[in-house]
Amino acid sequence: MPTLGADMSDGTLVAWKKKPGDPVTRGEIIAEVETDKAAIDVEVFTTGVIEKMLVQPGEKVPVGTVLAIIREAGQPASAPAPQAGPGRLKISPSARQLALELGVELASLQGTGPGGAISREDVVRVAKAGGMRHETRGGTGEQPLAPVAEAAADRLLRMRQAIAAAMTRSKREIPHYYLSTTIGMGRAMAWLGEENLKRPVTERLLYGVLLIKAVALALREVPELNAVWKDGQAAQSRAIHVGVAISLRQGGLVAPALHDTDRQSLSELMQNFRDLVKRARAGSLRSSELSDPTITVTSLGEQGVETVFGVIYPPQVALVGFGKVVERPWVAEGRVLPSPVVTATLSADHRVTDGHRGGLFLAAVDRLLQEPSRL
């Protein structure tokens, strides 16, 4: 069971997307897991062949529990290949799946469908009669899931609890320091306007991706901020995976990663950002997206906020908050002119960095935003 965020202690396996004997490639979706925050597609971390599933759908297990055994390419099978059930069973694919989910032994089933085939109904009948191997989350076969609305409310409550736990831990353990700077956005906004003129509707950029890219590139210059706190010390990450805070329509928020943010073009970043927001709100994020962020960026400009003093999401060691882009009197070359500006705030972990490095980081963000065409 992968850890998909600080303070996640366990997760429920919802469904396997693969079965024993299936070849899998690193990065492929192998299972669906439900955590306090969302339903997550779990990616497999190695290439090989699935040998055995150790956790059944419906089971809730602690983080770190082995879910399945994968035989890596080239390794011999550890045991003789398992017999594929009781001969050629005449059972519908859906009935087989349901039997697996409800923990009903295939051998205990009697087919009453057309031609003696085992149908879903046959599985449900046996499950109801108590033919389940173990307790599953649904109980009876008729309604394996709680009603949708109830499930949604439940999920919201659990997400609130997860946020509460993470934020409490953050404020208890992390000595935050905050630095704030106002960045002139005249050049960035003018460049964006021109750039978007050239782009079809479907490929236009939001200014948010300029901010995200600037943060990612600035992290190359101050890599101490791109790290996680682990076992009493900071571990810098070579890859820069910026987590972006996304509010969910039903309440709560997630901050999934845009992988290798610094290496994506603005167009790629925009497409991936759009896709990430869409999937975050649809509840179909991938496990690596939740576990990989090396820093978080949050923007509350939409709500009219000017300055954001964010709480660091452990185990990360920094968070950058952006306010609204507003027109303000701005002095440039001795003249006061109206200009769009944005306030950028760094919340950083004082155990890992000091204000001096933090200041350099914000200065780098500012400098990068003055040359938008190079982002």
């Binding site: 519908s92 694919p93 859906s94 009935a95 087989r96 799946q97 009453t112 469908g113 057309p114 085939a117 149908s119 879903r120």
Partner: protein, 326 residues
């Protein structure tokens, strides 16, 4: 939203009239669309209203007038070309498949063909094999065109108006059996031509169908309901690009699918849908996908033979019962 009772034929005519009124670039061309008022009377009265420049009778050469329509579309017009039946459209296959469907791609996007091609399809009217076949599934094989099969009066009108907003060729198949059918016309203009339509909710089986077979499927669903079987009926209505998501969602709910397609079973569009269900919802199936199609013969002329060859209400109900073991 206002509702008016009208026939399918009148709905098509209302759509044509509205298109002609709303856009001076629209014109109608085809065999007998002018003085005769259309083989199925869809353009009755339009010649008098819009004149011979915009309601153009064409010579009996499908290849020539469909080609002329493509040329007019290239030149910036918005032609609606009527072909009498899908059987005759085969004479214009080269124009449709090799020209209309390819020019955008072969010109690197420089040219677009906003052509709307309407034609009658389907059997059940005792007009024998040369007027009764269903080839919309063939056309749905071709990338570069949109294939619509309106089955309701609202779709008959609204899909035509939506088709005229497409930058690329759209083929509309009007099931000839439906022309005299009465229904409630929703006066709301455009129909969303990217989505299938759920015509009846059900939990036990999904009936996936389109065109003239929709009504047989709905009737079969009524019959089955009396036996305690609740069939869901999905009107595919857009064969290309196919709304697979709606199909899979329904099958995931009911776990069983029966496809009703008036074309012949072998190599049919029903086969394509079946394959897509297998690819996308195999583990949700509680039984094999079933198909109800026409008998593998040129459609016969005598009524009793034609009836026996075409999908019918009892045949659909029987296929469902077979799947359920009922």
């Amino acid at each position: 939203m206002t509702m008016t009772k009208t026939t399918y034929r009148e709905a098509v005519r209302a759509g044509l009239r509205e298109a002609l009124q709303r856009d001076p670039l629209v014109f109608l061309m085809g065999e007998d669309v002018g003085r005769y008022g259309g083989t199925y009377a869809c353009s009755h009265g339009l010649l008098e209203e819009f004149g011979p420049e915009r309601i153009r009778d064409a010579p009996l050469s499908e290849s020539a007038f469909v080609g002329a329509g493509i040329g007019a579309a290239l030149g910036g017009m918005k032609p609606i070309v009527e072909v009498m039946t899908v059987n005759f459209s085969l004479l214009a296959l080269d124009q449709i498949v090799n020209n209309a469907a390819t020019i955008r791609h072969m010109s690197g996007g420089q040219f677009s063909i906003p052509l709307v091609l309407r034609m009658a399809t389907g059997g059940g009217r005792q007009v024998a094999a040369q007027h009764s076949h269903s080839f919309e599934g063939w056309y749905a094989h071709i990338p570069g065109i949109t294939v619509l099969t309106p089955a309701t009066v609202t779709d008959a009108k609204g899909m035509l108006l939506a088709a005229l907003r497409e930058p690329d060729p759209v083929l509309i198949f009007e099931h000839a059996y439906l022309y005299p059918m009465e229904g409630e016309l929703e006066e709301a203009g455009l129909v969303d031509i990217s989505k299938a339509a759920l015509r009846r909710q059900g939990r036990d089986v999904s009936l996936l169908t389109f065109g003239g077979s929709l009504w047989k499927s709905l009737e079969a669903a009524e019959r089955l309901a009396a036996e305690g079987i609740e069939a869901e009926v999905i009107d595919l209505r857009v064969l290309r690009p196919l709304d697979t998501a709606t199909i899979l969602a329904s099958v995931r709910k009911t776990h069983r699918a029966v496809i009703v397609d008036e074309a012949w079973r072998t190599g049919s569009f029903a086969a394509e849908i079946s394959a897509q269900i297998m690819e996308g919802a195999f583990y949700d199936l509680d039984g094999p996908v079933a198909r109800v199609c026409s008998a593998e013969a040129p459609l016969p002329y005598p009524k009793h033979l034609e009836d026996a060859a075409l999908p019918n209400v009892e045949g659909i109900a029987r296929a469902v019962r077979g799947l359920l073991g009922a």
